[in-house]
């Protein structure tokens, strides 16, 4: 069974789920935006996010975030979080003139990285190519390409990302809704639920200013 969600609902759900899974607020903000971006590209980022959060549940940020020493980005704990990695790449690619090349080791759920690269491409008017074993896609200002392959990307991959000359492609048809599997929705909702504070008698009375008759 699948659900039809607005893009705003996707962004909000992912934002809260990522926070519930322990990400910093600012990283969760980026994750929400990227989930919305992928949905608009007709790409299912929500299943990958649900799997990623489950896989990394309880892990320390330092263990899954990219270490910047040396030429290759890798994680101390083995696999790179695509959200933390995507945030770093997004932060570093503001300059329109520079050509970029990043080597990434053991990136989990590269489909999520594709979301970050696609958003950067759209923003900067650049085209990025990502290649690795069993994996090749490119992200241009008009969308993500090799979509079929994108929906079947491996769960972990070594990837080389580099800026390339624009590729002539027709703009992708973008979606205004997201289709989310019930399973992914339930997993993300469970993570989001961790951000909520249970009510107490005191908070019921004071939290929203209850105790005054409102029925008049």
């Amino acid at each position: 069974m699948s659900l039809d969600l607005s893009i705003g609902e996707v962004e909000s759900l992912v934002f809260k789920a990522c926070r519930g899974a322990g990400m910093a607020w600012g990283i969760a903000e980026d994750a929400g935006r990227i989930a919305g971006f992928l949905a608009r590209q007709n790409v299912d980022g929500l299943s990958a996010l649900a799997s990623l959060l489950t896989q990394n549940d309880g892990k320390r940020f330092d263990d899954i975030a990219p270490m910047t020493s040396g030429g290759t980005l890798r994680a101390r704990g083995g696999t790179l979080c695509p959200v933390a990695t995507g945030c770093l790449l997004s932060d570093l690619t503001g300059d329109l003139q520079t050509d970029y090349q990043f080597e990434l080791e053991n990136v989990s759920y590269p489909i999520l990285l594709a979301g970050f690269l696609g958003a950067i491409a759209e923003r900067n008017g650049r085209t990025f190519e990502a290649t690795g074993k069993d994996l090749a896609f490119h992200c241009s200002p008009t969308g993500l390409y090799a979509i079929e392959e994108i929906n079947a990307l491996p769960e972990v991959a070594n990837i080389v990302v580099k800026s390339v000359k624009p590729v002539n492609c027709l703009p992708n048809e973008t979606a205004i809704r997201a289709i989310c599997s019930q399973a992914a929705f339930d997993t993300l909702s469970a993570f989001a639920h961790r951000t909520y504070v249970p009510a107490t008698e005191a908070s019921r009375m004071s939290g929203a200013g209850a105790g005054v008759n409102d029925n008049d």
């Binding site: 990283i27 975030a65 951000t195 909520y196 504070v197 908070s203 939290g207 929203a208 409102d214």
Partner: protein, 548 residues
């Protein structure tokens, strides 16, 4: 801008309700009610159609027979007297059937990409039955009783963009009629107001067929739609910094244009004096049970008297740069409420000069959401010093500076404000403590190398990422931050609501506690069927008999 000032804002020409009605009139929108299938008990549905030059929208209203014991304005209610959705186009029978299964459930239902809003309203216990029984007897209700309450029904939430399955605003932003913010929601409330009159007249007619009368147009005008708003709205101003900047910047730009006028024509002065008198009438009708707020209203009445006396003095408005002079006088002689109301009144004669700003109050919030990781820490420090001076006031060790925390309640899924030192849950605090977080960021920046890249810094300090994004936005959005501590023991949460509601165009703020407020929307506005003939511009100010 400080929160106390934001919390003293009043509606103005740039408020979204007024922007909408000006457009509806200018473009000659047509209104009718093609469907009214409501039975003798007041149960059924009606459709209100608004046809513009390019597109049609329909408010689908569901009327219910609510057990009075279940009538509550709190967002936690599960049943209402009436529920609504604004449909994008004209609904088919199948659409209506789908909506009938979902809209009455509100948050527990789903709407679709064909819907632009979801809302509900309850009858005013103080007024609805009274008006119905008057009309059923063939009599008109007393004007004073109507003025006391100001509305027949109160909305308790009006959900828009993307909420509960509705279409996201980003997909309708490029429609001319939605170029200003919240226009779909404002249209929905405007049509809801017509429903509140129709339903009370319908029920009166059912009670006394042949005897019942319709409400007279001049009495109807006095009624708006009520609204009860709580903390759910409060984080909005903080969570949408680029947008809030646009709203305040538009208002400030309008003010600066008027202050720069060298000579006020006699027509402009007459308009100003007219709305001032009408505003005095409106302020006389503004009452609240909140003692603290009533003090402000009483002070405002005195300030308006003082303003009247001042402007009737020789040559005050005949001098060069009269509005600049009046503005300066206001800063020196009026309290915050009066100062901000004066700003709204000064804009009134100058629609041709300021109304264009309404189309600049919307923003693509994602456009500047990227963090510039190539910035050096030295520059980030400069931005903090320049734009976050208010955070220097935050004292981490002072209990009162750190007294509260914002969170989302598991039970209601709504934002709430907790007492940090007395209640559990502070570990799940939402990031609204901008003062505190900016202070901590400044502290960590001070210990970083000058030439460290922000991208590297954020790998070491991911907890600062949300704030760095705000700091980097600040140079482009000078009004993006509320320059106050939002977790202070002194915080007045309804100031956050009042600011947003004033931009909507709400009047008669009636705080029911420090955390929720009742307001009136569209009071004195022409109804859809009157719009073509009526004043669509300064309707918000009630008519006074001796106005000149």
């Amino acid at each position: 801008m400080r929160l106390a000032r934001l919390g003293a804002f009043h509606q103005s020409r740039l408020s979204f309700m007024r922007v909408l009605l000006r457009r509806l009139k200018r473009e000659g929108w047509q209104f009718d009610r093609p469907v009214w299938e409501i039975d003798a008990q007041g149960v059924g549905h009606g459709v209100y159609r608004a046809r513009g030059p390019q597109r049609t929208y329909c408010l689908v209203a569901f009327a219910h027979d609510l057990d009075p014991a279940k009538r509550s304005d709190r967002v936690i209610a599960e049943e209402w007297d009436a529920t609504f959705t604004l449909f994008d186009g004209e609904p088919t029978l199948a659409d209506i059937e789908r909506l009938a299964r979902n809209v009455p459930k509100q948050e527990a239902g789903r709407v679709s990409q064909s819907e632009l809003s979801l809302s509900r309203a309850n009858r005013s216990v103080r007024l609805f039955e009274y008006v119905k029984s008057c009309l059923a007897r063939g009599e008109q209700p007393e004007a004073e009783r109507l003025d006391e309450v100001g509305y027949l029904m109160r909305t308790t939430a009006v959900y828009g963009s993307g909420k509960f399955g509705a279409l996201d605003y980003r997909f309708i932003r490029d429609r001319e009629e939605f170029s200003s913010p919240f226009q779909a929601e404002m249209l929905s409330v405007y049509l809801t107001r017509a429903f509140t009159i129709d339903i009370v007249e319908h029920l009166a007619e059912q009670e006394a067929p042949g005897t019942a009368v319709k409400m007279s147009p001049h009495l109807k005008r006095r009624l708006g739609v009520g609204n009860s708003t709580g903390l759910g709205m409060a984080p909005y101003l903080v969570n949408h910094p680029a947008l809030i900047h646009k709203w305040i910047a538009a208002r400030e730009t309008a003010l600066s244009r008027v202050r720069a006028i060298k000579n006020a024509s006699s027509e402009d002065v007459a308009i100003f004096l007219n709305v001032l008198r009408r505003q005095i009438r409106s302020t006389d009708l503004w009452n609240t049970a909140s003692a603290a707020h009533m003090e402000r209203i009483v002070e405002l009445r005195e300030d308006l008297d003082r303003l009247c006396t001042h402007v009737s003095g020789d040559g005050v408005l005949a001098a060069d740069y009269p509005w600049e002079g009046l503005y300066q006088w206001g800063q020196e002689n009026l309290a915050l409420e009066g100062q901000e109301l004066l700003v709204s009144l000064m804009l009134e004669p100058y629609g041709a000069l300021v109304d264009d700003l309404a189309s600049e109050m919307s923003v693509d919030e994602q456009a500047r959401s990227r963090i510039d990781g190539s910035m050096r820490i030295s520059e980030l420090r400069s931005l903090l010093a320049q734009y976050y001076q208010f955070a220097e006031e935050f004292r981490p060790d002072w209990r009162d500076d750190n007294a509260r925390f914002w969170y989302v309640s598991e039970e209601k899924l709504e934002p709430r404000l907790g007492e940090r030192h007395d209640e559990p849950g502070a570990d799940l605090e939402f990031p609204l403590a901008i003062s505190r977080d900016a202070k901590v960021l400044a502290h960590d920046c001070a210990r970083a190398e000058d030439d460290e890249l922000v991208a590297q810094f954020l790998l070491r300090h991911p907890e600062h990422r949300h704030l760095v994004r705000r700091v980097q936005l600040a140079p482009y959005a000078g009004f993006s931050e509320i320059n106050d501590n939002l977790i202070s023991a002194d915080l007045v949460p309804i100031d956050l609501l009042r600011c947003k509601l004033s931009f909507f165009g709400a009047t008669h703020f009636d705080p029911r506690s420090d955390r929720w407020v009742r307001i009136t929307m569209y009071q004195n506005a022409p109804y859809p069927d009157e719009l073509a003939e009526a004043d669509s511009d300064r309707w918000v100010y009630p008519e006074v008999e001796d106005s000149y």
